[in-house]
Symmetry: C2
Subunit: 224 residues, 2 copies
């Protein structure tokens, strides 16, 4: 179980603190606004009202023994930069700071932030991918131009077996798994993941998990 | 090639417009601020200065024939909601609107936005996952508790073959692929993705792409 400090409980910091606590980790949630701190007191290990530019106050909370500290302070550039420097000087091994402009992102990196979060840019990147490849229900990209994607079974593949389709030779993609409707196990609520059997015909509701080069994945047949 | 309208070229909209255009799609970038429009005129198909609450102006740009319109307007709630309604009434099939509060997100959905983007929350969800599972270099989650992840080859697996490791039986995970340093092909700059050969020993620098249930993936051996 890891220990995290989240400073600044706006939409980014607040949600992060909540998610980490829900996953069972120890979370110290910090904000200078008392009302906000009170909202979090049920949901995290400890919610504390303090100003993160107060080095003594941070030390007294023991943040130097935490795995990581995340700064979700918005608007107050001086508080954000000073808090970043203080946390590194106290000895927090990993300090992640949320930036609200590219210039601020560069400054944070230079003054010691281990990682910088840029929610608008990160979100734009993902939504661009969703718009560019709408037929991929899900996609994980690897750096060298390979991805794992999920697609609905194209109509012209339904009824054929994987041996007949021979996707590796013909389409350059590898079938990792199939999500199939059916007598799922009790703990999974819906379709179950199966390792593909080469001689079983594909069904219309099958969702295929494929991996291959991005350019080969983009060439897969479309029904739309 | 798809056609997109992006209205509001702040950090979110601006980056989205740039990404879509870089991917080869037709992008109409719109902002009411003339200086901002000029910054984009080299990078997108067409950059136009107009106010998105002006229905006539939008119609004259032909947005009704676009695949999707994305609203990246910040701060001006009335402009955002009115623009959303106008775009749907004009007949744009897919309108994606960026919200800056949970309440605004709910309003947008109710007045017709097909999708709502919440960058801070989306970013917090991903960073929580990165903090919770740091050893996964990459992760794609499926709904029923399965994921595909990348991990560095654990020390105790190095030198063993996949047949010897028998991960499916012993660890409940399926090896999808291996990223291996080596004589990569010319177009990939770095490690290449290979389909695993059952009788080849794992090397220390191998990165394994695995799939399985989340609880099995979490139990994989750790070197730290
Ligand atoms: N020095 C500080 N110490 C502790 N908390 C701080 C400090 N400065 C700001 N905060 C808190 O950080 C939180 C987030 O800041 P703010 O609301 O300005 O940012 P935001 O950009 O709107 O955040 P988000 O986009 O994540 O909603 C606020 O609750 C604020 O009280
Ligand atoms: N009615 C409108 N029509 C066209 N553009 C608009 C309209 N209202 C606002 N914009 C533009 O939307 C852009 C983004 O708005 P703003 O900068 O207020 O949001 P933001 O929340 O800071 O955006 P981001 O977080 O994406 O940087 C601005 O460039 C602004 O000129």
């Amino acid at each position: 179980m890891d220990r995290f400090a989240v400073i600044g409980l706006g939409r980014f910091g607040g949600r992060l603190a909540t998610n980490l606590a829900a996953a069972g980790h120890e979370v110290l949630a910090i904000d200078k606004d008392r009302e906000i701190v009170e909202e979090f007191s049920g949901r995290v290990t400890l919610a504390v009202c303090l100003d993160s530019t107060d080095e003594e106050a941070l030390r007294s909370q023991g943040v130097q023994k935490f795995n990581a500290a995340v700064l979700g302070i918005g608007a107050d550039f001086e508080a954000l930069t000073l808090s970043t420097v203080i946390l590194k000087q106290i000895g927090v091994p990993r300090v992640i700071a949320r930036a609200w402009s590219p210039t601020i992102a560069r400054i944070l990196a230079r003054i010691g932030a281990d990682e910088v979060v840029s929610p608008e840019e990160e979100s734009a990147d993902r939504w661009a991918n969703r718009l560019i490849s709408p037929r991929f229900l899900n996609q994980i990209e690897f750096h060298e131009g390979y991805s794992v994607v999920e697609i609905e079974s194209p109509k012209k593949w339904v009824g054929q077996t994987l041996v007949e389709l021979n996707l590796r030779a013909k389409a350059g993609v590898h079938v990792v798994a199939i999500r199939r409707e059916g007598a799922g196990d009790a703990r999974a609520g819906g379709p179950r993941i199966e390792m593909p059997r080469p001689d079983e015909p594909l069904r219309p509701s099958d969702i295929l998990v494929l991996m291959g080069r991005d350019e080969d994945l983009r060439r897969l047949p479309r029904d739309d």
